[in-house]
Amino acid sequence: MTTLPETTQKKLGLVIDLDTCVGCQACVTSCKEWNTGGYSAPLTDQDPYGADPHGTWLNRVHAYEVGDGAKSQAVHFPRSCLHCEEPDCVTVCPTGASYKREEDGIVLVNPDTCIGCKLCSWACPYGAREYDYKVGVMRKCTLCVDRIYNDNLPEEDRVPACVRACPTGARHFGDVADPQSDVSKLVADREGYDLMADFGYKPQNKYLPPRPKRNGSGVQAIETSDEPTTKAHQTPGSALEKLFSWADQKLSR
């Protein structure tokens, strides 16, 4: 059903912390690994050992540099389906294979009915959908719909594979519609934002911006004077003598 549900009961999504992601690709390969044998099985790879290896992945991590020269920053930028509230990728689908779940807002492609017209991938500004050249259907992040409700997994593992694997804890999963959820609080605290909000697709996934870089260690202001002003310096003698006399004083206390 490619018309969108009026509302969804939940808005499940990922909250990705750009301040913490080190670009290790754990979310990328764990996603591939889970999903190539899961709901979307298989995610095929073309020319896997040849000149032009390329396959179907549901999550990718870019690295950008932002700003110029030494004042720039490096930011690792994971990118996958954002499970938008009002995505065109669903409405353009001619078959109903692409749909948004009423229960949780997850955007899925039904691999049994997708005709592989690729139009949904054209409609997505985020490059989230990848066509499977061998199977002939479109693939995308399922938010691990076959994990998050799976009775065969322990409760704590009912999260997307990328979240389960992420070593730095840069990926969070939850209901962004519930203001009391951990992810919602995180988004509020850290001023989480939507990618390309001007499209109006209303992504359920949010990004937490890199925290401002700082030279100081934070809590306490750092004195800017170049000259240390400890009392020890006021004793007479050479620099070393002063140091030793400070040490003597200090130890004799």
């Binding site: 870019h62 930011v75 005709i115 991938s121 054209w122 500004p125 934002y193």
Partner: protein, 319 residues
């Protein structure tokens, strides 16, 4: 956007097919086209043949063509589905009309009122189908070269325009003559030229939808440059959406389009006005041959020039 030949062939062939169908049907309604079994067979055959070949070709673009029937289900939201529905729906009046027109009635006899109704429906169906095709592209907010109200109009105009050139050739081939038809063709060609010029002026002037800074949400820090790609060989997104064409090639191909899709066909069409039978036949064939190549380049360029916004994640400064 990657210019897929199957889609280029689909849109141009079925476009011309609907054009021929529409003009034939209008000819029938207006009585300008006389009932003639051979001409009927050829005109409807070519129209429906092109439409069918185009639609079949479009399924070659599908990963799972055997499931293509599913595409008729989502007409409420999807322009692609609407196009499919309209294409099939148009077959009904068009096919019935063709059968009745070819196989019933005395040669030269006028259209029955039922035939007129069918013809009217075929014309409306054709134009709506062409419009739907255009809307498939025009509805994509991710591609600023397509997301324009002029795009579906162009699809309709180019369909009628190519159809008119083809129809004109058929008239000359069968020695049929419709008074002033060349004016309609010339008008459509001039209109097409104007529309395409307008289109290019528009896309050249339009600002990119997004920048790397905007797309990543990092612009408040500074200029965003790619450092490490997410993958070192191209993935589907880059293959499909990352097609790049140099500006100088674009300009050359645009000029070629002006020449082959509009200029020379117009010349050929004008030749039919001034020339005799042979000259007219040659002129209309010349128009057909050039527009066939020209419209292909036009359509190729329509895809190749289109920049998908996703490229800003892949190193494009803006798209």
């Amino acid at each position: 956007m990657h210019p897929a030949y199957s889609v280029i062939f689909f849109t141009t062939a079925s476009g011309a097919g609907y054009g021929v169908l529409s003009l034939t049907a209008i000819g029938i309604i207006s009585g300008l086209v006389k009932r003639d079994m051979t001409f009927g067979l050829v005109a409807f055959g070519i129209a429906l043949g092109l439409i069918t070949a185009g639609l079949l070709s479009s399924t070659a673009h599908l990963g799972r063509p055997e499931r293509a029937w599913r595409a008729f289900s989502q007409w409420r939201s999807s322009w692609l589905s609407r196009e499919g529905v309209m294409a099939v729906a148009t077959y009904v009046p068009a096919g019935l009309l063709a059968i009745l027109w070819i196989f019933t009635g005395a040669p030269g006899s006028a259209a029955t009122s039922f035939e007129v109704v069918l013809a009217l429906l075929a014309v409306i169906g054709s134009i709506i189908t062409l419009y739907c095709t255009g809307m498939i592209y025009a509805s994509l907010r991710t591609i600023r070269h397509w997301n324009l109200s002029i795009v579906p109009i162009n699809y309709v105009v180019f369909g009628l325009m190519t159809g008119a050139v083809l129809f004109g050739f058929l008239l000359h081939l069968f020695g049929e003559s419709i008074e002033g038809f060349f004016w309609i063709t010339a008008l459509l060609l001039a209109g097409g030229l104007a529309m395409k010029t307008l289109y290019w002026m528009h896309v050249d002037a339009a600002k990119p939808i997004s920048t790397a800074e905007n797309a990543t949400g990092l612009g408040h820090i500074g200029k965003v440059r790619p450092f490490e790609a997410a993958h070192s060989t191209k993935n589907f997104v880059m293959r499909e959406m990352g097609y790049e064409i140099a500006r100088k090639h674009v300009m050359r191909l645009r000029n070629l389009t002006y020449l082959l899709a509009f200029g020379l066909p117009l010349l050929g069409t004008l030749a039919t006005i001034v020339g005799g039978t042979v000259m007219s036949l040659f002129g209309s064939f010349f128009a057909l041959a050039t527009i066939a190549v020209g419209i292909f380049i036009e359509r190729w360029l329509f895809f190749a020039e289109a920049e998908h916004v996703v490229n800003v994640y892949y190193g494009a400064e803006a798209a």
